[in-house]
Symmetry: C2
Subunit: 257 residues, 2 copies
Amino acid sequence: MSDQRERQPPSRRIAEKLRAAIMRGDLGDGDQLPSERDLAARYATARNTAREALGILQAEGLAQAQHGRGVFVRLRRPLMRMGRDRYSRRARNETGLSPFRIEVERQGRTPHTECRSVTTVQPPADVAQRLGLDAGQEVIRRENWYFADDEPMQVGVTYIPTAVVEGSPLASEKKLGRGSIYQRFEDLGYPIARIREEVSARMPTPEEVKGLSMPPGVPVIELLHTSLDGDGRAFEVTRFVMRADVNGLDYDMPVED
Amino acid sequence: MSDQRERQPPSRRIAEKLRAAIMRGDLGDGDQLPSERDLAARYATARNTAREALGILQAEGLAQAQHGRGVFVRLRRPLMRMGRDRYSRRARNETGLSPFRIEVERQGRTPHTECRSVTTVQPPADVAQRLGLDAGQEVIRRENWYFADDEPMQVGVTYIPTAVVEGSPLASEKKLGRGSIYQRFEDLGYPIARIREEVSARMPTPEEVKGLSMPPGVPVIELLHTSLDGDGRAFEVTRFVMRADVNGLDYDMPVED
DNA sequence: GCCGCCAACTGGCTTAAGCCAGCTTCGATG
DNA sequence: CATCGAAGCTGGCTTAAGCCAGTTGGCGGC
């Protein structure tokens, strides 16, 4: 109570000074921070300590190191929001346009979707539960990558019980590799009646860091999407994983009940 | 291409071994990891390097250090989801029960809400924009903290234009400090017609780490809630910040348009 | 039986020195 | 004029040693 300013270890004090400079605007997006050796000399400390300070800023997502070049301010870019009409009939039926593509185009960036694989697998436990599958029942797994200006933005892994597409044109793995599938379910006798979404956030796995070329210190948003038919039965689950520094989600709902 | 296993620095190799042990289940939730000095001896490395390895696991949110005690496995606890009916009329009107309290009780934990402050301030830019306010117009700011079993789970900062509550019973700051306010707007001639929510995720600020007693390496979910009246005018904005390791969000919507 | 202290653990953080690897620049060489 | 390469910067990571600050448990004294 008596001493307002807490005693901070040097590394945190240096980090705080740099953070303040960024917040004040003295250092803008893309500007280079002082080098480790610089900071160490300036604050009469060991290089390790200066390094630690820069590490703190990176862990906060405020800065990003580039080996051999330096550490640079990295301010949050404006969010690319996945808007509230992303599952509208228009979005679903627009030929070849997934809701993601619509959003990206609206932002004036170039969308690009790539299907990396279509396989038949055992579903993860949380997916199996949402699809109401018993152990041992297989699903088709489709992995889609979404880019904006060739920068990877999100991954979507879709799971469909084999029973759903059995005997239909979608059963061909080739067919499943192209375009949005939301628009095709109606033809299969599975009109989408409700959509359930579960949102959480976490730190990325090492694979996701590599795949999404994410800066360290940035979380991912995980969106578990479930499509339900008129009887409330789930027939498709997609797990979207997206960089939280460039993505956000919008929901807009009437209030009733 | 030739060498599948990449060359990893020792700290990352050690972290990987520990991570594997956790994933295999050899180390369960709450179990103590080897101490820094232990690891250093076992892997014939410097204590700093072992420390770095433990730091990596903490940054991934898999472990948590306790000064003087040790480093412990910290598996994600089951999500406390904010369910899809959290804005139903029932939730709003249940006396003294905010949607959050309902959710927590459903999980068998003891809810507790605390209003830390009610003040009149200039709104942050993003809030002002959503409320359609010109520069200089003031808002009432209410800061609420939400606990489950006395553990802080989320903060909600509500902004209401002074014009909305002017001359009403809610204009008293005392009144605004108690209970949920969603149920009171109707009496003021502001029935909630639509709710807009914008979801993003980010790393917590140092203040949030302290306030929410968060382990390092865990992101927060930021939910910007906007209440709209029948004419689509926003009359209230609340920014919720919640620990992403124990919170999630559900959305359930009919498909139309 | 209780209390208080102390020893032996734990992590937190720093110093100082060094080697490695990536990037940039500039100048010498063809 | 183009190209190549070395110098000098950058971060990445490690070692070895040390002091500080929490936690725990046991041992002694009351």
